[in-house]
Symmetry: D2
Subunit: 511 residues, 4 copies
């Protein structure tokens, strides 16, 4: 997955972000809409097709959504119109048509008690049967989005009634009973934001603390490993400005926040001006394992994010080391395709002692919309993006690391470019196992037929793309690389969803 | 110069590109407009404000110019309207107002013999006195651009008359006598393209050969070290599709071209369908030295370009090594700010044995137009662009390489970010000498007052930005790093313009 | 209401259009999306803020909506993507924010049987209580639009169940029982389009026949005065291409259609490839009268539309005659402000014998967005739009007809302009009674406080605007002018809603 | 020329406007850029493709140009950046490509004394030979525009030198000697604006006085019939804010100006803060006649403009009367196609006593870019723009006035529409003679081959378009209608260019 085009082949569907100003902080000081906007910029790699922010001032909801990149949508002072001391945001990738502003999140609906806004990362395995049930109830659905289904489930009042106003926890638990995975949610009513992770913990979600004056950006995971009795754990010197939640912790430093808690699988946390409070942990139906998506480590997440107490970059580096152990090769230099598998390449280099060099420079001005008509030039399109640093590899044997192979269309032209520019040999090492199965939990993967790993084995692929050798990391190797860095947490089980690699899905598939 | 904003602080003014289809090649096969467009994408780092292409079919000239990036301007089939078997292109940065489509190049004018189109990289030292002379002659000038001055000088007929049609070489020599530096030019009449470099060779320019089928992308500098008797040197197996010229060789691989010749200072080369022919070498007025801009090596050029027979990346690596020799420091890791001084950091690491690691990851989705109102968030703006890879440097002493310091505004927040994220010490090493003087030859440098090197020395700067130490490369060190890799070429003198660092200008300044 | 700005003061909310290709006609021949698009262009005066078209091919629904004018939204071949042999369209004006693409119609929802699309002209008097009931049922509502309420009412299954598929007539009758006015609707399922007019007939709606070859554009109202036994009334030589429905008949000639039937108050007509069929006439709850909006005659409708068997232009001309009878004046010329009350002015001239002349020419290039900062120029803004044809009225006494007065801001500057240009006297005659009351049935009228008729009587207004006299048409006069031309139709009662003039609403207002 | 498309068939090329604030008026009070902008809006009918304004504050020139309509170009506060107390503006139509921002006027050039700006309406008959002479002098020309030629002629210093600064009058006279027609010019240097009309007076130009407080908008032509001794004619109560010049007087009321002087053929008037001063009247080379374009009366000018002391509307009305005298017909109603020949139709009605009625209503929302693919709908395109007011003409004999016939494509479908809607007979009367010859003086007329009058006579055309009769106005009739209203001015000859109708050109054509 060497370049932007491939990025579209394998795409996480969303990023979510929430912010609630701390007690006593004025709207100007909290600057909630800006904080969310910056948070979304930090999650932009999780979706570039549309984005939205909804805030509320305890009374009215303010919404702004649009197609395109976060920094293009929220221009021209439109953030000023997003008033209030709390809000949620969303950034989205979708396979739907580009004009589908209708599907942009967060969704806002009016309910009998108040408006609510919902932002969702993930995909409901039983969305179809839920849709059908609603249609039979006579509810017209105006989009094809899972999030509309979630929203309508949330508007359903609990059977016991709600004599004292809305019982949102009961409504959220009802939602969690109706569908088990995969979702991470931010749900805002007029008083607070609920953040929820599905019982299998398939999509990531974490909580941060935004201090007025930043002295350290180091995470405080140990101090806040639980959110019960949260109030006693907050010191005065914490000097809190706001509480935030995000799909990934990488969005925290840009707003001056620190990571304080990773939302547990099945956990419901309420963010209010007084701080986050853990309200419940709903267990999965099948007790076998938590199932956090292993591909977040392999490819989706930004390298500076933390999951399960470890930095993604470090895990990727361990993948490279593991690959060097499993599949060493005699070579002169180790390298990678820019901005793809750099940590894995460093890991491979450290394990083998073969020096790391750069073999390609990237032209960052290549636009996506650029079209060349002639065949001759189309065949050279990889050369438009990458320039060979010939003096670094001419006449040398190169080990080229990549993070994963999807359709297998990009690696061939890169190898050709390196060889035309003088590489003696090119050995490809893929820092993940063959990708063979569809994902129904929030990742956009090409069809089974399009995945090259279903069409040929590593040796055949090596021949096809012109590599002198090509080896994947083993599934066990990947699991070892991921899990060996997770610190034992009392009573917390470790487990990952490897469905796209192994075909083993966390829940039964139902159509 | 760590990031995009700084890039605008110090900016080369232009890139030029030319293409002439070889004899017997059809317009469809040559695909000239596409080749130029791709060539300009490869020169986009030399100017992002506007771009233009002019082609001609031996009869009519076809022009398309626009504000913005190459890939945005040349969309929607507009390349198809740029007909013909030759053309020139230009990409430009300018300090002028954004709406100045008037100033976009190439300039096209009608002359008594035919239309000509002119693309120009550089800046005329005596532009003002030339303008005044023209105004006295009763010629109205409609732009403030040097290129209009050049164009009007070219339309001036030689005093001896031109009994047999236009004598373009005489006209170009007249132009070269009127002004000596700095310019690299592409001049197209209806039959051919002339490419010209000023007698001091201040701005770069090179020539390439575009083959029908690409087997090797290695440069053929040795084979074509002279363009006299060019025809005898072209083999049949060269299988030439077109001849191209470019400000930098980095734009050649993307169109399948190989570098064949670096235009010599003062050289006039004519590109026709039969190939490039060297017509003359006009010597400089002051014989002291050639004066190729040393900052092309330091910062402007793309790392994969070749100048004077050496790859820019390699020169930068030598700068890092030289810096390690001049100013070593005890530390745990060496690193750089992403996409800035990576080769220098590798050089420093190799020389010292201190391991190279990545300390920051870059958010490539940060838009330029993004605005945050509150002070608190503005102070964090560097955090929006870079995420700390904390596990790679927490508790460690970091050597941080940068290529140059202009205003000195960016490095401070980066150091603060690294320290807040846990760096024990941060030692800054700048791979070039202090930048102190304005450039009048084509580089956009802030005023003397804005350059931080005119306000404080290295020690004071270290204190101001919070570095534990900060050292520049010496001017001699830079010259050594650049010149030690240049292969002796018979009769060719070596020399570089270091005016912005040393204050020594190649020609007398005249106002 | 002399000019474009005023037009926004008093605005019908929508226009709807439908088309169903006749049996045996191919999609290419029927060209449904283009027919609807042209139909909407003919209804553009009923709403310029957004527009949309939904078609269906018996299987999939195809939707395209956008902000702005019809001719801007449906460009660039996007009509080709609207496939199928039937469709509905909508053009809309709204007080909601300009970016509210969410609220654009037609609305499309999925139901248990099929998708349906709904286009709506009008406003529900009891929308608020209907909304609340739905929210209590646990249905989340995502817009503030009445049309979402209508759509959700339509998705409600009849209590008796629908053993043999959807019973749309039962569902539509249920909808009609829940709310009585005001609406004209086009509802498309995958087989047909239902067009419905509320029991009071408040908003207009009519049906047309689109012939393959156009020989006459004259309406065939007499031949098709009922749609029962429709099939026996269609001759072979009718040569039908498609059946269409529209808010106004003025959109028919541009597609080659003829007006065949005005949908009766409370009538449900189904358009299928076999032709229109009247399915039911639902009577109003209060039997007192039909209540077709009289202001459609006064101002909203296009002059070439037919309502109740008479041309709107003719009715307006009768208003002018009636005004001349009620309030004659000695004068030299009769005139009007361009494109406003021309028919009334002709009527006044015919009745009195005072010659009609043009006093102003209109600058049709005045843009809406144009802004002038200085007070002096702002006071002249009416002069920007209208140029005085001085030789036609210098030294003369002018009677100036206008159709209505809303805020009363425009007429003053016009009178001033005429007098500065030499008019001896200016007598204003308004071809409708004073506008005093809000409309809750689909017209956007300023608040009671903003209506000038609630602030001063005719005499005071004359003084304020500088008129030598100013008289309104009486309510009885207007009713006479409207109703005297309606041909007696057996069993059909005649009646009009005059709420905005008289304060008498057709149904009880409920909040 | 019934509609917008035809309007593009026959198009005046430009409108020019100038404004100079009176002595002692502050820039804020004068609001020069806004005045020019409004003036251009009033000239928008003379060119809709691009527009520009240049102002100067005695020091710097400020320029803003753009493609499109005046009200779109000058938005968003850009007028504020056009500083200073004088300026000129231009609005333009051109056959050149839509992206030719290069050709937008006013042109600004630097000269040896100061910048000058030039705005031009007209076309130089000898442009080609002037271009060639310049190219031979070694001046490169960067556009194909006549205005660049004019601008370069103006930069030429008079042979006697200019010892005391620029002698602009000498330069303008030199320009006027080089080319005799057709042009009206506004030339701004840093102190004043010169307005110039060619010796034949082919294109219109007039001067106005902008008062601080407007009491009357009546022209003061008699008072200012000469601009010599202008100062003695200006009273204190004139209370002058600024002096303006315009192609047509119709742009004066919108800024509160009154018409004071029509620039005479060959006259050079200088506008300074002290008022307009007539500097010279350059006689034509051929003394035979003045040659003001008669088509300005027929079609181009706005009906409320004054030429030669008479209102254009009145002249057109006389054309209709003349036509009724020349070619009467028995009929029931007289009418016209909306916004085309209304005054002529009134004239015809007055002369014959046949009542005037409206037969068509215009849909003003029809966009220009709208495209319909099917043939059936394309044939109906005239119905999209015009709706038949059937009750006004069903069963009646209609006389339909039009101002002129160019290609003859529009009138046929209109007649068809009227007949399909029930007209018994349609008799066409054209209020001008057959259009047969090209114009080389500033009007864009189709080629000889495209003009229908060169292909068939009136009778043949009647048959082709389906008219029951079709008659043109005679050339003598037109000249009578135009000239009978011109008041005898002492010593001033009357004469008009009728070249497009008669083939007689005012000067010898030279290629």
């Amino acid at each position: 997955m060497a370049d932007d085009r491939d990025l579209r082949e394998l795409q996480d569907k969303c990023g979510i972000f929430a912010c609630v100003a701390a007690k006593g902080v004025s709207p100007e000081e909290a600057d909630v809409a800006n904080v969310i906007c910056l948070g979304l910029v930090g999650l932009q790699h999780r979706g570039q097709e549309s984005a939205g922010i909804v805030t509320n001032d305890g009374n009215r909801f303010y919404t702004k959504k649009g197609m395109g990149m976060v920094s293009n949508i929220f221009q021209d002072g439109c953030l000023k119109e997003l008033e209030g001391c709390m809000g949620i945001g969303h950034t989205r990738y979708s396979t739907a048509g580009s004009s589908e502003l209708l599907n942009c999140q967060p969704f806002v609906v009016d309910t009998v008690f108040s408006h609510i806004a919902v932002a969702h990362n993930g995909e409901l395995i039983n969305a179809t049967s839920l849709r059908n049930r609603m249609l039979h109830q006579g509810i017209g659905l105006s989009t094809g989005s899972d999030t509309e289904v979630i929203t309508q489930l949330l508007t359903t009042r609990p059977s016991c009634g709600e004599p004292n106003g809305a019982d949102w926890v009961a409504r959220i638990k009802y939602l969690m009973k109706q569908t088990q995975c995969a979702y991470s949610l931010a749900i805002m009513n007029k008083d607070s934001v609920f953040v929820v992770r599905d019982p299998y913990g398939n999509r990531p979600l974490c909580i941060g603390m935004l201090k007025k004056s930043v002295s350290s950006l180091n995470h405080e995971l140990k101090r806040f490993n639980s959110l019960t009795n949260i109030e006693s754990k907050i010191n005065e010197e914490d000097d809190v400005l706001a509480w935030v939640a995000s799909s990934e912790s990488c969005s925290f430093p840009s707003i001056g926040a620190v990571l304080m808690h990773e939302v547990a699988p099945g956990e419901i946390v309420q963010l209010t001006p007084s701080g986050p409070k853990s309200l419940a942990i709903v267990p999965p139906e099948r007790d076998n394992y938590p199932a956090f998506c292993i591909f977040e480590y392999v490819y989706f997440a930004r390298a500076d994010s933390m999951f399960e107490g470890q930095m993604v970059y470090t895990v990727r580096q361990r993948c490279g080391k593991q690959l060097a152990i499993e599949s060493p090769v005699e070579a002169d230099v180790v390298s990678t395709i820019p901005e793809s598998a750099t940590p894995a390449a460093f890991g491979f280099s450290q394990q083998t002692g073969i020096p790391y060099v750069e073999v390609l420079t990237k032209n960052r001005y290549v636009g996506r919309t650029f079209i060349q008509p002639s065949n001759r030039l189309r065949q050279l399109s990889v050369n438009k993006k990458f320039g060979p640093l010939t003096e670094n590899f001419r006449g040398k044997r190169v080990v080229l690391l990549d993070d994963s192979i999807v359709r297998g269309n990009t690696i061939g032209p890169i190898i050709k470019l390196l060889k035309q520019a003088g590489a003696a040999e090119v050995h490809v090492r893929i820092a993940s196992p063959p990708l063979k199965h569809p994902c129904y939990m929030g990742i956009n993967i090409p069809t089974r037929e399009e995945l090259v790993a279903n069409k040929m084995d590593a040796e055949q692929l090596a021949w096809k793309v012109g590599a002198d050798s090509l080896v994947y990391l083993s599934l066990e190797g990947l699991e070892t690389a991921v899990q060996s860095g997770i610190q034992e947490t009392k009573g917390r089980k470790v487990g990952h969803c490897t469905a796209c690699l192994s075909g083993k899905y966390p829940v039964e598939l139902e159509w």
